[in-house]
Every structure is written in structure tokens, then in C-alpha cells.
Point group: C2
Chain length 363, copies 2
């Protein structure tokens, strides 16, 4: 992988450094400490990890682990932003929180990426306020990954922007296709616009306007797609507003436990032998694992000047490990430079179907 | 079941009559004819069925079946509305279509319900234009049924109204809870408002306003629900605009084929024996059958002066049979009288959280 820098391979100081919000998740700092250690072991110290949070507590969790050989350090931060905190207010008021301190370390160039399993809204706020937006980006966005019959599908926005204008959706499409190309190696990622039907005349006014913007762009636009095309893998990037995206994401997340419950009820009323049921469950579990978005190593905040990866509050050590590995990979791809090139300046000036209009850069 | 009228049981003429659009589905009239025959056999002629469409063709499909003992008749209609036709235009132009003729028979009181597996938009248009709206209903709606861990969840709107005002969503909630009570026997059906979070402050302006309307109503309102709560069965009725509802419906419909594809790929790369894979597939098929909305016997158009049941274009004879049985059941419940009582007059005048406002009856 790209983050195994030559320097690191030669035993020198790691080039890339990842800041981890050690107080973020529901099981912090236990899972954060374990995940960081696993990431460094698996990558053979290819990068450095800085755990930010209550030092005494973090060190207590490190105490029973062998960490002397790892490129792992701790920076103290007194405060913690909880899941109950109001995102923007918390970021402004709790400047000494692990979240604010961690992102500031990244902002100051002392680290190359930031990872948190904390309050999603607060992470987005902190990333936007502290790191700032990439030139040409109206609204940073958080996407969600879905497994598909053909690979992976990136759906964005997944809940951070409930009301979107056509320009926002266009920018999501640009950022999403750059992410799909750089991280998932889809050289010419196909973009679909979520709608209630495939015909160009379908949907509400916002979607119809977005269709025109996408059609006139240089993106590999495949037109309107429907809810069924996500898992089918018709395209690699699907854009929609955060209200719709969030509903689909959460519906999808509920499928595994629904199937588990139904399978149990089915076994009880049928004559399936217990041992066979175990087999069915096992196969299903392996298949459904793909629907668990923690496997993808968290989701990136796209559109901010930096690399920020957000994970589920319930992140396991394995999920944290994957997030750190993903952050190191993203930090090495110059993703943001590509986004800025695509959107800054001419990015918001596009030819529509029948005439030329100039949309405001930051509506 | 309620549609087994005494009269029919005594061998007299069936009380309830169901009109079937024999030219509606992708496999019309073959599946429509078969489904009608199956419905009459299963119910022991408890109601009558009128097949509407190209008589010669319909009779050809009836020729090789024993139908002399069935309360089945045919009414000729020359024209057919296809899936490609523009809904409203087709209904206005093709007055001789099986759809328009069939609904008109219902409108004239010569039948008690109408069933079609044809163009959904056209069926909705025809039902609205020919039957008219129930007093107090701004917009008729079509819902979708989801199996849940606790029973069934009715989601509406499922795609017919992509832009909705709070008043529309409120009316969907009223109609949905009456349907859940009358047809699914949920005496005090819980209603949830689909949102990106449970807190009252979440979502866009339309959702926030709808929350107030629902909170002030006499419905059993359980507040905001998220995408995951549909399959979880937290409530029996979920309201959202048709854009979101359609995306979730279609996403849900794609889950079975996604799992089938993944399971096949899983078996190929693992060492699961072929016979065991068959078992896994069988169990999964039985469980997933619940996610197939045809099992519920189609979906009703709610808010029109009549009983109209719509099915999937790909409806099998079994699906058509279930739609006819459902139509007969709905025709016997006086659903619309309950909807009118709940919405006409005072239905659109409600107390909001802080003050009293009067919303227009038909915004």
C-alpha cells in the first residue's frame, strides 16, 4: 500500500502521522488504544499514531500491552465531547476536547490525518470550522459505503446536509467520483443521481436541475438511478440529499438484524435441525459482513482541508484499526488537491442543456 | 374472512364484485385470468370477478380452464394503457382502455373494487380523476408494506407524491393508521415520522412542521423514527414524502437478489457443500419471501372514493389472486367512511404546539 513509505521501510521515522481521537467512541479509550496498536502492528509501523485524550486513562489502557516497539505517542486533552453534546456548540465551547485538540494538531501540520469514532455532527463541525473548506466546495459531506453486486457503491450525502441545492449535489458527485477513483481504484467511476425513476423528467425540481448540471459536466454520469441500483452496483457513486441518504443508510444497516430475527423464528416453526441453522447463520453472517460499513474503515469527511475519517460510535478495535489504515492511505493520495482542481474557479460554472449560466460559487 | 357474505355462502349471487384490469400487468391477460380463477376457487365464489379487457384474448386464456362454476364474467375494452404511456395523458386520451373502463364500472357502483397490475401512475391518475378524492383528502397516496420484526409496517407515500407539505404528510398518517387498524387489525397503530434522528429538532422545515401537526393530533404518534425502525417494527405506520419512500421501497426490494448473488459467490470461494448451500438458499428464500410485497396482495390507493388495489407489473397469478382477495376484504371494511370522518371538515384544523392555525383543506 502507498503509505508504506520508503523511509519507514528503512526503519527511519514514519513519514505519515495519524491523530486518533482516543475519547471518541462508545468504548473509548479501550477500543481506540487497541485499534491503534493493531494498526501499527499490521502495517509494521509504516506510519505514526498520536492518541489524543485523557493521558492517564489512555496510558492505563496501554499498560498491559507491549507498545515499546510501536510508533505510538499520547497527547493530553482534558475535555470530552459526548454523543449528547450539540455539535457546533460543543466544538466552540470545548476547545480543550480531544476532538478539537486532535484536529488542531492536524491543522497545524503536525499530523496528516484525523480519526474519530465520536459524535458525527461534532466531528463534521470541528473539521469544517478548524480545517476549513476546500476552495470551491460549498458544503463538506459525509458519504456511506454499500457493498454491491459489482463491488462498492459510495452514497453521498449520508445525512449531514438534509436540504441540498443542485450545486451541492453536483459537488458531492465530483468529490465522490474522485474518492472512488483514488481510493477504490475505479478509474472511470460511474455517477448516478438518485431519483424515483430513470426518465429525465422524473423527480422534484432540485433533482431535475441537478440532472442538467451532471449531464453537462465531465463526470461519467449515468443518469438517474433508483434505490434498487445501489446494491445492484449499477454505478459506483450515487448522489442524493442527506435526508434520503440517511434513510437508506439506516434502513440498510437494519437488514442484518432483521434477517437474523426472521431466521430464528423460521427455525423455530420449521423442522430445521439446530446444527443446520447454525450453518445457515454462519453463511449469512459472512455475507452480511459486507453490509457492515465499519469494514470499509470508516467514512471520510469530503470537502475539508485535511483528512478526517469518521467511524461508528460502536466501533470495535478492528473498526478503529481499519479507520487508521484508511486514513493513512487517504493521506497519501492528495485527494484534496484533485477536489480543488475540479471545483475551484471554473467548478461552479457549467454549461446547461440550453444556455450558459453562472452559479454562485458558495450558494 | 369478512367477504364471505351470507348470501354467497347460501349459494345466491355474490354481494361483493371486483373488477380486474385484465390487460394491466407484464403478463396480461394470462396471469390476470389465472389469478382471478384461483381467487374464486380459494374463496369458494364468495364474491364476483369481472375481467375487463380484450374479450377475445381473455376468453382464449379462459378456454382451457374449468370456469363454469365460477362467478366470473368478462367486459370488453378495446384499448390498453402500457407502462410507457404518460399516466395522466393516457387516462384522458384512452377512455376505452381496460383501466378507464374498469374504474368507471366501479365508479358507477356496478362493482365494489378495482384491481390492476398496470402502469402505477396511470392507475393513480384514473382513480383520482374518475373516482375523485375523499372529502378532506388533499392528495391520494400509495403506500408500501414492509415485513418487520414485530409484524407489518406500512410506509407512505411510496413514490406518488415526491414533494409533500406538512398537511399532506399528516393526511397520509391518518389514512395509514386507519388502514393499519382496519386491515391489519392493529387497534392502536403507532405512527412514526421518518427523519434523520429521533430528536424533535432534527430534519428539514417540512418535517419539523409535520411533527407539530402529528403531535397535536389524536393519532398514536411515536415521534420521529429512522430508516432502521421500519424493519425493526418500532411502529406500524411510517410517513415520509414519496421521494424518500420510493428510494427505501426500491432499496428494500433489491435486498433479496443482492443476498442471492453474494451467497452464490460465497459458496464458490468457500468449501460449503452444494447440498448445504441449497439448504441455506431455501431458508433464506422462505425468510425473504416476507420482503416481497406481492405477498401482501398489492397496495391500496388511499384517499380516493373507491377501492383500488395496485400490483407490481411482474405480478404472478398468485399475486393477482392475493390482490383480488385483498380488494374484497377492503371493500367490506368501509375504510373510506372512516377516512372521511377523520379528515373532512375539522380534519385540517388543528392545534399546533403554541398557537392555533387553520391550514387550507386543499393546499
Amino acid at each position: 500500500m502507498e503509505y508504506f513509505s520508503e523511509e519507514a521501510a528503512m526503519g527511519g521515522h514514519p513519514r505519515v502521522k495519524i491523530v486518533v481521537d482516543a475519547m471518541g467512541g462508545d468504548f473509548a479509550p479501550a477500543n481506540e488504544v487497541k485499534g491503534a496498536i493493531e494498526a501499527l502492528r499490521e502495517s509494521n509501523n509504516a506510519f505514526g499514531v498520536i492518541l489524543v485524550g485523557r493521558e492517564e486513562l489512555i496510558r492505563k489502557h496501554m499498560a498491559d500491552q507491549k507498545v515499546q516497539d510501536l510508533s505510538l505517542s499520547v497527547i493530553h486533552a482534558d475535555d470530552v465531547i459526548t454523543m449528547e453534546d450539540s455539535p457546533t456548540a460543543a466544538v466552540k465551547q470545548k476547545k480543550g476536547s480531544s476532538l478539537a485538540v486532535g484536529i488542531t494538531i492536524h491543522k497545524e501540520g503536525k499530523a496528516d490525518a484525523f480519526v474519530s469514532a465520536g459524535n458525527t455532527g461534532a466531528v463534521l463541525s470541528a473539521a469544517t470550522l478548524i480545517l476549513g473548506r476546500i476552495k470551491g466546495v460549498s458544503r463538506p459531506t459525509i458519504g456511506a459505503f454499500f457493498p454491491s453486486e459489482t463491488g462498492v457503491c459510495l452514497l453521498l450525502d449520508a445525512g449531514t446536509n438534509v436540504d441540498c441545492r443542485p450545486q451541492h449535489l453536483y459537488e458531492f458527485a465530483v468529490m465522490g467520483s474522485i474518492y472512488a477513483r483514488k481510493i477504490f481504484k475505479y478509474e472511470n467511476a460511474a455517477v448516478g443521481l438518485l431519483n424515483v425513476g430513470e426518465e429525465e423528467t422524473k423527480g422534484n425540481e432540485i433533482v431535475k436541475e441537478t440532472f442538467k448540471l451532471l449531464k453537462a459536466s465531465s463526470l461519467n454520469f449515468h443518469g438517474n438511478v433508483e434505490g434498487r441500483d445501489i446494491l445492484k452496483g449499477k454505478v459506483q457513486v450515487v448522489v442524493c440529499d442527506g435526508f434520503v441518504g440517511n434513510a437508506i443508510l439506516k434502513f440498510g444497516e437494519s437488514v442484518p438484524s432483521f434477517l437474523k430475527a426472521k431466521l430464528t423464528a423460521y427455525a423455530e416453526k420449521s423442522f430445521v435441525q439446530k446444527s443446520l441453522l447454525g450453518l445457515v447463520r454462519g453463511a449469512l453472517r459472512d455475507v452480511l459482513k459486507e453490509m457492515d460499513y465499519e469494514e470499509y474503515g470508516g467514512v471520510p469527511v469530503l470537502g475539508v482541508n485535511g483528512v478526517t475519517i469518521i467511524g461508528h460510535g460502536k466501533s470495535t478495535p478492528k473498526a478503529i484499526k481499519n479507520m487508521i489504515l484508511k486514513a493513512a492511505e487517504v493521506a497519501d493520495t492528495h485527494l484534496n488537491r484533485h477536489i480543488e482542481e475540479a471545483l475551484a474557479g471554473g467548478g461552479s460554472q457549467r454549461v446547461l442543456a440550453n444556455d450558459t449560466i453562472t452559479l454562485p460559487a458558495h450558494p
